[in-house]
């Protein structure tokens, strides 16, 4: 090659500690601060610890689901089956837990997690083996899950019982801090470690950048792909179980409002939707940002339609700031 290729990436001018990932995190953290300050002007209770802790609790549900979504996005794919994985898990857990068979009742949570992993495996088979674009395949899987849920529950709300553990994890507090947030923090620490220090994590980033090069470097491409989708399904189910504990009920469509916030949290956190680039801290802060934003919009008692417009507009603006400030990469 001549210098045509040498120069494709120009040396960055910003100081070395402020790389692209950190820039995104900083930007989104500033966004959080701006929301809090703005919110406190409208509603004085905003900066009180009680409110903030409650926001962290709610952000945990979103954040855990977004963790799985981020891994799939790092891989360069996307998982649109999130909504009905959530709903399906909630239905399975609540029905199993309410079962008269004590064995099934005690296995309710593991069963729910298994459902998530099974969905992940189904997603992975379509994407890795059949090479169907993830966008389409996970959509079809979502449609099947929806159909299965409708078939199973009919048009009524599923009956059953929310497992004690789910309620505790979702609504309880330890040392004054919501359990849900603690659970999220532990999962986050594991995720960061996994992405940085395991072979899996390294191949995940590499695959998101170039499947071909990773295949020719002798990596088990299928294995990494399958593991990622299965993990994503697991995270979705995990979040769903907490959500179930929080809402204390399962209903059709309970996962539907989560797809857009989950993807938004990942993407405004600086993870490239094309894969291979991103940082978990960004997703973490991104989930908090999205939670704060929807909280403020609801506190302001906006009609749902206006809330939807403002929500979309703010996400778009955040993305535009990314797009226009980052000369080298796309969001």
């Amino acid at each position: 090659m001549t210098d045509a290729t040498e120069r494709t990436v120009t040396p960055r001018k910003s100081p070395p500690w402020l790389n692209r990932d950190r820039m995104s995190v900083l930007l989104i953290a500033l966004g959080c601060v701006a929301l809090l300050l703005g919110g406190s002007l409208l509603y004085p209770g905003f900066l009180k610890p009680g409110y903030l802790l409650q926001q962290l609790q709610i952000a945990a549900f979103l954040g855990i689901i977004a963790t799985g979504a981020m891994m799939v996005i790092l891989l360069g794919e996307i998982d649109l089956s999130v909504p009905w994985t959530i709903t399906g898990t909630a239905i399975v857990v609540i029905s199993a837990s309410g079962s008269s068979n004590p064995l099934i009742a005690s296995l309710a949570i593991p069963l729910g997690l298994c459902l998530g992993m099974a969905v992940g495996l189904l997603n992975a088979i379509g994407v890795a083996v059949f090479r169907v674009p993830a966008m389409v395949w996970t959509l079809a899987v979502n449609a099947m899950l929806l159909g299965a849920a409708v078939f199973y529950t009919g048009n009524s709300r599923p009956n059953g019982e929310v497992p004690w553990l789910a309620t505790q994890a979702a609504t309880g507090r330890s040392f004054g801090i919501p359990n849900a947030f603690l659970v999220w923090a532990v999962l986050a620490a594991i995720t960061v470690w996994m992405l940085k220090r395991t072979v899996y994590g390294n191949y995940l980033y590499a695959l998101g950048n170039s499947r071909r090069a990773v295949f020719l470097a002798g990596a088990r491409v299928h294995l990494v792909t399958v593991a990622t989708f299965v993990l994503a399904g697991l995270f979705s189910s995990f979040g769903a179980i907490l959500l179930l504990g929080y809402t204390n009920q399962a209903y059709q469509g309970m996962g539907d409002p989560y797809l857009m916030p989950v993807i938004s949290a990942v993407v405004i956190g600086g993870t490239s939707i094309q894969g291979g680039r991103g940082n978990y801290v960004g997703t973490f802060v991104g989930a908090i940002f999205i939670t704060l934003l929807s909280s403020i919009l609801s506190v302001m008692q906006m009609p749902p339609a206006a809330r939807q417009i403002i929500f979309g507009a703010i996400i778009l603006v955040m993305l535009l700031i990314h797009g226009l400030t980052d000369k080298n990469g796309d969001i």
């Binding site: 379509g126 083996v129 059949f130 099947m144 159909g147 009919g154 939707i273 339609a305 939807q308």
Partner: protein, 320 residues
């Protein structure tokens, strides 16, 4: 001729599948083959077909449009305000609705081209905004549509559904534009390889804007047609159009990687989806089981379409 057939193999297979499905549908339909049955089928197919064409334009330039349904909903709502009164005001209303569609497409295009935001997230965000605006304009379904016009566009002439005629006219016009003009060929070029297109001297950014605004335009046509069929403006119809339009283009052999496919394929894909769900309706399956089988058939169809990967003899082809 053989190369031509091979290049359009996906479309040919999809067309064959459509014929088989349609025959099955007619066979189990209690009223059999009649102008009435075909007209209903064609009307519904045209709605999704237009949405699929809207999706096609964005996919052609390597994008994806998650706001197609929202644009259909928004234009449908706008139509329910303006498509009545004197012929002049209806004509002006028509122009206004189409302008709204083009504006939505342009917003997407500008964010993607000049804002450097990936299409999928752009349209995820704008889709929320567009449907929010639709909800704001009309919180519940309503409005009025000129009924004479609706009748003219949704019935049949000489046994042929008007919607089918409209669809064919749109398709022929688009085919000429796409295959015989520099802009049309340029769209294929940009989708095929943006860098090569730039080096060849094509106006890449402008072409992408053309693709996105064409998408908005056709989505507005779909929105108008929805109001012709339902006679109301409904802000909540969006989601199913978005998802089905993506499934339709894929079934019709349009490559999500850009540069491959035709509006005909997109429409065939849409008609397949429509026929499957109509088949379900008359299949005798319990109504609660229908959504599951619809999903299953969709997944199977997509997987079958992807069976070609097992014929690939060099694994490098699988990793692009």
């Amino acid at each position: 001729m053989t190369t031509r057939l091979r290049q359009n193999a996906r479309e040919a297979i999809a067309a064959l599948a459509l014929v088989v499905l349609f025959t099955g549908y007619i066979a189990i339909h209690p009223r059999g083959f009649s102008t009435y049955v075909v007209t209903i089928w064609s009307n519904e197919g045209t709605l999704l077909g237009l949405a699929a064409i809207a999706q096609f334009f964005v996919v052609l330039v390597k994008g994806i449009d998650l706001s197609v349904g929202s644009v259909v909903a928004l234009t449908n709502v706008v139509a329910s305000f303006v498509l009545n009164g004197s012929p002049t005001s209806i004509a002006l209303g028509m122009v206004a609705v189409l302008a709204v569609g083009v504006a939505c497409g342009l917003v997407n295009g500008i964010a993607v081209v000049h804002g450097r935001v990936q299409p999928i997230v752009t349209t995820l965000a704008t889709g929320g905004m567009f449907s929010g605006i639709a909800l704001l304009l009309r919180p519940t379904p309503g409005g009025s549509i000129d009924e004479t016009m609706s009748d003219a566009l949704t019935y049949a002439v000489a046994g042929i559904p008007v919607s089918a005629i409209v669809l064919v006219v749109v398709l022929v016009a688009l085919l000429v534009l796409l295959r015989r003009t520099t802009v049309g060929l340029g769209l294929y070029g940009v989708g095929s390889s943006e860098q090569s297109a730039y080096m060849t001297g094509l106006r890449v950014n402008r072409l992408k804007l053309v693709a996105y605004s064409s998408s908005g335009f056709v989505a507005a046509l779909a929105g108008i047609y929805v109001s012709m069929v339902t006679l109301t403006g409904d802000p909540n119809i969006g989601p199913s159009y978005t998802l089905n339009s993506i499934a339709a283009v894929v079934l019709g052999g349009v490559a999500l990687s850009g540069g491959v496919g035709s509006p005909i394929g997109a429409v065939i894909g849409a008609l397949i989806l429509k026929t499957i769900s109509s088949l379900m309706f008359f299949s005798g399956l319990p109504p609660l089981a229908q959504p599951f089988f619809e999903g299953l058939i969709l997944a199977t169809a997509i997987a079958l379409g992807a069976l070609g990967v097992f014929r690939v003899r060099s694994r490098l082809e699988l990793y692009r």
